[in-house]
């Protein structure tokens, strides 16, 4: 490049850098380099911050890690008075409430995305899309209040008695209907996560080239077959990414869940029973943690939560990015 620029007298540099005038070609190249270095520094900075956070948490949690070892993640007693801590109920509560949320939110979110991207008349798309995005902006404490005053009573007097009467032979739907509990947490989380899944999936579906749809239609596919064969398949890694993004959000959600899950560190088979999540126990007990070991135990819960969400989010990002480039349409 250094040799080409003077000899080519304008033609070569402008070919190398479309749109750059030949005089500024050299400075554009060095600006490019600077920009790249800057971006690399920012990127590395994020990684460092993340590592520093994990390290700081690990150090602060060290007393608990040393004291309980693996027992911390496999035991289910949580007794601040006896200073014996096992975080399994919280891990269980976090994972179960998030999975429950996904079970409800994935069909709803994907359905909304398919509707918005493939079926809805053009004039309906912006307002509905906007409303769904608005749902993502509602503060979680508002969802929590709604959960306490609307959802929990509804579950207690209608949904849970009904489920108990019809599906009560399953351990999942046994026990007294409290209203608040694992089911309420799963539903609240689902409502909070649907906007993420729906909007990201919609964008994934809209990014599917129209040639793919035409290919299926021209083969004699009906509308739904076209969506299935050409659109959903093409976007599948992006859709999985959207779902994992939703999962990442469900795992970390604190306020609304704390308000409706019942906050009891128990592992129950029934979805009607109260539970507890990692995020909730940290929020509830941090201010009361008087002993060093108690505090360290809570910090270790935070560390575990961070690790789980980082892994899930990293997976999500990878999948969303990879959807940009799995396709080579014409290779010549």
């Amino acid at each position: 490049m250094e040799r080409l620029a003077p000899a080519g007298a304008g033609a070569a540099p402008s070919r190398l850098l479309p749109g750059a005038a030949s005089a500024s070609a050299r400075s554009a190249v060095s600006g490019d380099r600077l920009f790249r270095a800057l971006l690399r520094a920012v990127g590395l900075g994020f990684v460092l911050v993340m590592l520093a956070m994990i390290a700081a948490l690990a150090i602060a949690a060290w007393p608990a890690i040393r004291q309980f070892g693996w027992g911390f993640v496999v035991e289910s007693n949580w007794d601040p008075v006896q200073e014996s801590f096992g975080a399994l109920p919280f891990i269980y509560g976090t994972l179960l409430s998030s999975i429950l949320a996904l079970l409800i939110a994935v069909p709803l979110g994907l359905g909304a995305a398919i509707y918005l991207a493939e079926l809805a008349p053009a004039w309906i798309r912006p307002p509905v899309g906007f409303l769904i995005e608005l749902l993502a902006a509602v503060p979680s404490v508002v969802y929590g209040l709604w959960g306490i005053f609307v959802l929990a009573p509804l579950l207690r007097s209608w949904v849970q008695p009904f489920l108990g009467a019809t599906l009560g032979w399953l351990p999942l739907f046994q026990g007294p209907p409290y209203g608040v509990g694992m089911l309420a947490a799963g539903i609240i989380l689902a409502i909070m996560v649907v906007p993420f899944i729906a909007t990201v999936s919609r964008d994934v579906l809209l990014a599917v080239p129209s040639q793919q749809r035409e290919a299926a239609l021209a083969l004699g596919a009906t509308g739904w077959e076209t969506t299935r064969v050409a659109v959903l398949r093409y976007g599948r890694s992006g859709l999985i990414g959207a779902i994992l993004l939703g999962l990442g959000r469900a795992l970390g959600e604190t306020m609304a869940v704390t308000m409706v899950i019942g906050n009891r560190p128990e592992i129950a088979a029934s979805l009607f029973a109260p539970g507890y999540t990692m995020a909730s126990v940290i929020a509830n007990e941090f201010t009361e943690a008087t002993s060093d070991l108690y505090l360290a135990a809570l910090i270790e819960v935070a560390l575990l939560l961070l690790v789980i969400t980082v892994v899930v989010n990293a997976l999500a990002r990878l999948l969303v990015w990879s959807v940009g480039g799995p396709v080579k349409t014409v290779r010549e």
Binding site: E214, L219, V229
Partner: protein, 252 residues
């Protein structure tokens, strides 16, 4: 029965813009018919009207009659899905399904039509790939992604995909405009071969290509079919001044 495609007073619109004007034409069976004309004159729209692909664009509509071996493609109650199985289409840019293997690409249309029998699928896929002159190149890599082939191979894969369902007509919209000369030559050879089994209607902006492959040629201008005749006649003694101007390169 096999009397080809008769188009009677076909007009087409995008919204309020009329892009085809009262087209009348008879396209003979077992021939290759080329559609030429400057870009934007309605060539793509014309062939997309033949298999009812025009109407999948929001706001697009067509009016007139298209008789495929005597049956009106636009008759009330006719399902476009069945029409598109009988009239296959190959697009300008190769568009294999990238998440599917070579085999699944070719089998896609049959599976949509409800064929589940493995032996039948295998037989049809092999036959279609053979017809598309691709079998020898991919027979050892049927499980590879359709997107991993070269551009020319991808286009022949798309041809095989369209042929697998056994269409009566194959429509091709500038099928080699994204390909290099060698891949283009292969496609042209293939078209001459296909002519034995079915009708081919090919849009091309390359007049040499029309001269090489087509028995009959139609010239479109501003949505009108200006002239339709034997290819030799179109290129040696066009009747219309506008056709002559176009083929002698005076515009377009």
């Amino acid at each position: 029965m096999a009397d080809g495609i008769r188009v009677l007073s076909l007009s087409a619109w995008f919204g309020s813009q009329r892009v085809l004007r009262n087209v009348f034409v008879n396209i003979a069976p077992n021939e290759v018919t080329a559609i030429i004309g400057p870009s934007g004159c309605g060539k793509s729209t014309f062939i997309r009207c033949l298999n009812r692909m025009h109407e999948v664009v929001p706001g697009a509509r067509a009016d007139g009659r298209v008789l495929l071996n005597g049956e009106d493609v636009y008759a009330p109650g006719t399902d476009p899905v069945t029409i598109r199985r009988r009239i296959g289409m190959v697009f300008q840019k190769p568009n294999p399904f990238p998440t599917m293997s070579v085999f699944d690409n070719v089998a896609a249309g049959l599976r949509l039509a409800g064929v589940r029998n493995r032996a039948a699928l295998h037989e049809a896929v092999e036959r279609a790939l053979g017809q598309a002159a691709l079998w020898d190149e991919v027979k050892d890599s049927l499980g590879k992604s359709g997107a991993s082939l070269s551009g020319g191979q991808q286009q022949r894969l798309c041809i095989a995909r369209a042929l697998a369902v056994g269409p009566e007509v194959l429509l091709m919209d500038e099928p080699s405009s994204a390909l290099d000369p060698i891949a283009t030559a292969k496609i042209e050879e293939l078209i001459l071969e296909l002519k034995k089994d079915l009708m081919v209607v090919i849009v091309t902006h390359n007049m040499q290509q029309a001269a090489r492959v087509a028995d009959a040629t139609g010239f479109f201008l501003l949505g009108e079919l200006v002239e339709f005749a034997r290819t030799r006649e179109i290129f040696t003694s066009p009747r219309d001044k506008r056709t002559e101007d176009y083929i002698t390169g005076r515009f377009g």
